[in-house]
């Protein structure tokens, strides 16, 4: 091993000249309190990471609080003087003029039919975030477990799973999503499922690759010698190690799913049963006249999507960097 000057515990306790004689006393040099890795994980993640997290918390909180913040349908027109934190119902048309610009009380302006863009954006986030979340959960549950099992057991199962992953990856993603939603219905559920299926292969391949790396390590052999069964080795030895790089991918994947939902909406495949960011951008942004006279109606949701996906990517990347570095140092 090369010298590791940054790690104060790397060298064993030994007084010069007393090296071989300190076996009588039991405890060796105690590891020093609070090594650098512990002290500053939060700081090493950096300001960018915490800004991203802050934005994501804000978006999620607004999505969760939307029903509380919003008036009943039709109420907005009866009380034009609303306080700042009360939003008109997103489907209320003509709460303002058509394509009114941003103003106090109407922060994001209004769209083509006079709906409040802020209210639309907040309500749209509910479906968009949920689609991203459900898709990535499906990808993790199916792809992650297949990948870990394939990587651990190898053999024919690994061959079959890897082959399925390859097929999934080579299948044109959009066509698969169109196929599923057209056949089974353009609902929130089936859009999530089709995006989830698309997430299986990339998630599964990472899980498999990580498992291969850790299954080689001697602690897995040690567990087997102790008599651990395969299920225990997978759950207790491998999973905690594989989950770290996977969690970074989860954030990245959620961002991708949100964008994919928007893409599908642009192709006319979006939830018939609700609002979403994709649907909102499609409605306001696919008409050249609307874009010319009131670009804000499409721009605001686009900026929100952009910031959200950026935050997810950034947070995921930073997490991976920091934890990978910790692994490397170890």
């Amino acid at each position: 091993m090369p010298e590791t000057p940054s790690n104060p515990t790397a060298t064993p306790a030994a007084n010069i000249g007393g090296i071989t004689t300190d076996l009588g006393s039991n405890a060796l040099s105690p590891p020093e309190e609070g090594t650098t890795t512990e002290v500053s994980v939060a700081r090493r993640l950096g300001l960018g990471f915490w800004l991203s997290v802050g934005w994501l918390v804000l978006v999620v909180a607004l999505a969760l609080l939307a029903p509380v913040l919003t008036l009943e349908r039709g109420e907005a027109r009866q009380n034009p003087d609303r306080s700042v934190f009360v939003l008109p119902h997103p489907e209320d048309t003509a709460v303002a003029g058509r394509l009114d610009g941003p103003s106090p009380g109407l922060w994001f302006g209004s769209d083509n039919t006079g709906r409040d863009v802020l209210s639309l954006t907040i309500w749209g986030s509910r479906i968009s975030l949920l689609v991203g979340f459900v898709a990535i959960v499906i990808g993790f549950l199916v792809g992650g477990s297949l990948g870990i099992i394939a990587g651990y057991f190898r053999g024919w199962f690994d061959k079959v799973v890897s082959f399925v992953f390859t097929i999934l990856l080579s299948f044109p993603a959009l066509i698969l999503a169109i196929l599923i939603t057209t056949l089974l219905g353009k609902t929130f559920l089936w859009i999530s499922v089709s995006l989830g299926i698309l997430a299986i292969a990339p998630v599964g391949r990472l899980a498999r690759a990580q498992t291969l790396v850790f299954a080689e390590r001697e602690f897995v052999a040690a567990a087997r010698v102790l008599g651990a069964k395969d299920s225990r080795i997978i759950l207790r030895e491998l999973l905690p190690n594989v989950v770290i790089p996977m969690s970074a991918l989860a954030l990245l994947g959620m961002g991708i799913a949100i964008v994919a939902e928007g893409t599908l909406a642009f192709l006319g495949i979006s939830t018939a049963d609700g609002l979403s960011w994709g649907k909102q951008i499609f409605e306001s942004g696919s008409n050249a006249r609307t874009l010319e006279t009131g670009p804000h109606a499409a721009l605001f949701p686009i900026v929100v999507v952009f910031l959200t996906v950026l935050s997810l990517n950034f947070a995921g990347d930073r997490l991976r960097e920091v934890f990978d570095a910790k692994e490397l140092a170890f």
């Binding site: 940054s6 590891p31 650098t36 170890f330």
Partner: protein, 590 residues
Amino acid sequence: MADQPLLELNDLSVTFATPAGPVRAVKGLSLAVAPGRALGVVGESGSGKSVSMKAVMDLLPRSAQIDGEILFAGENVRAMSKDRMKHFHGVDIGMVFQNPMTSLNPVKRIGEQLTEGMRFHQGLSKTAANARAVELLDLVRLPKPDERIRQYPHELSGGMRQRVVIAMALANDPKLLIADEPTTALDVTVQREILDLLDTLREELNMAMILITHDLGVVSDRTDEVVVMFRGDTMETVETSQLFDDDRHSYTVSLRDAMPDITQSRDDNLEVAAEDAGRHADIPHLRDPEKAIIRVENLVVDYPAGRGVFRAVDRVSFDVYPGETLGIVGESGCGKSTTAKSIIRMPPPTSGRIWYEGTDLSSLSAEELRRKRADLQMIFQDPISSLNPRRSVWDIVREGVEIWGTSGVWSDARLVELLEQVGIDPKYRDRKPFEFSGGQCQRISIARALALDPKVLISDEPVSALDVSVQAQILELLDELKEQHALTMLFISHDLAVVRNIANRVMVMYFGRVVELGSTDAIFENAQHPYTRHLLSAVPGLEALGGLDSIAGGASSDGSWLDSERSAGQRSEEVPALVQCGPDHWVAEQ
């Protein structure tokens, strides 16, 4: 030293800025080496020996702050211009690194890698550079050099690769060769060949050489002067001939004492108490196989290799008796690990039978085997890789108990006791492995294996990754625990000195077969097989220690048996039978 020193370090210090504050890796190192002389820099990991040479080579990260003077032939290295620096690195100094696997580019042919530097620094044409490459490979005694330059690194063995790395270092006729642990990754016989080569080249080319190593044996054979370092401080600088004198610095002495002594039999070394003396007499001999705890008969292990199979272990038979330590030695690839591990069916044997306490292990169902296997535990070579980085020490040590149910052998209190026994303070039980040093990790690993109260402990190179002082502690710990827990041990090692210190009996393996088997003293003092003699004669530092009787005669330690064996290219069909040649001593027929 009549000559003007070629490289001179005056009060060199290296400080790294870390989040925890500055760390001084090298503190005021001064040394000088003259042309044609060899200087050894010795120390354990963290001593700053490599860092100081990296400072000379300007290979340190930017966060390192270098103070002091580095003079090369009187010229201040730290004041060199960029272009001069390039010349200094590429031409004036050659460097050989520890691992020949990683210092060569796997996708480039040997010839390309060799000629690159020459064409850049000497402006040679392609043909001229190629001719020079062949010359260099010939110089480092690589057979068939004109074929080698068209080969890729993976086609060469580890020793051959290290020769290529040396050839690369010599390509531009350096005046100084810095070798950083050049043989640590190599087998002992190959190590001797490489060190011999470096010696010869140094004389032929009148180079200066700096040899960085953790191994006092290596420097004692190969250098004129030695600098001993410890945690960045220079302990002393001493003529090699006086290294083993009594009035050395206390650290040098302790380093020397920590070295396992191959010339002393086990009992002298460990100063076994009087009551233990009888223990060895209790060990039943091969004549009484009924008493064996493990019996191995005609063990064969095949690995798939390409289309065919590679026979890693070829019809090996031996017995292990309760309470003894059987050392299994041999060079890498000889099948020593595979043999021991196939007892716990990792990997399962291809054929042959293994009995444990009279039960044929191959007749057991998977579940029965799992239960039996709790008796047979193992410790691994790499203390870091063998601990799960995400679990606490306590979880790791408790794992066996959890698997077999808390009603089992160990209560929490006994686990705490076990941690104390292996020398880990139980108050650190919630820490993760990365907070411990390599030696401490190995202790945790030992505690984990002992938690199930096993009867047999298979130790696969348990000290090879550790510093020599830590190595001595772990060996002593293993020996103690063996007594306390009434263990039988299989001890696999490539290090003969270590084996002499811990084993009661030794089995020497070569190319998947047993060549010699006998009591430790018989093997080390009266080695019969030419391969065993060859192995013994390659141990570094042997002369300084006074040599070994078994090879003092030196009749067949010249490796001629090995040469004929290697040139045959494959094994004979028949396994040579083991013939008894002493009361507890068997040797393969040649």
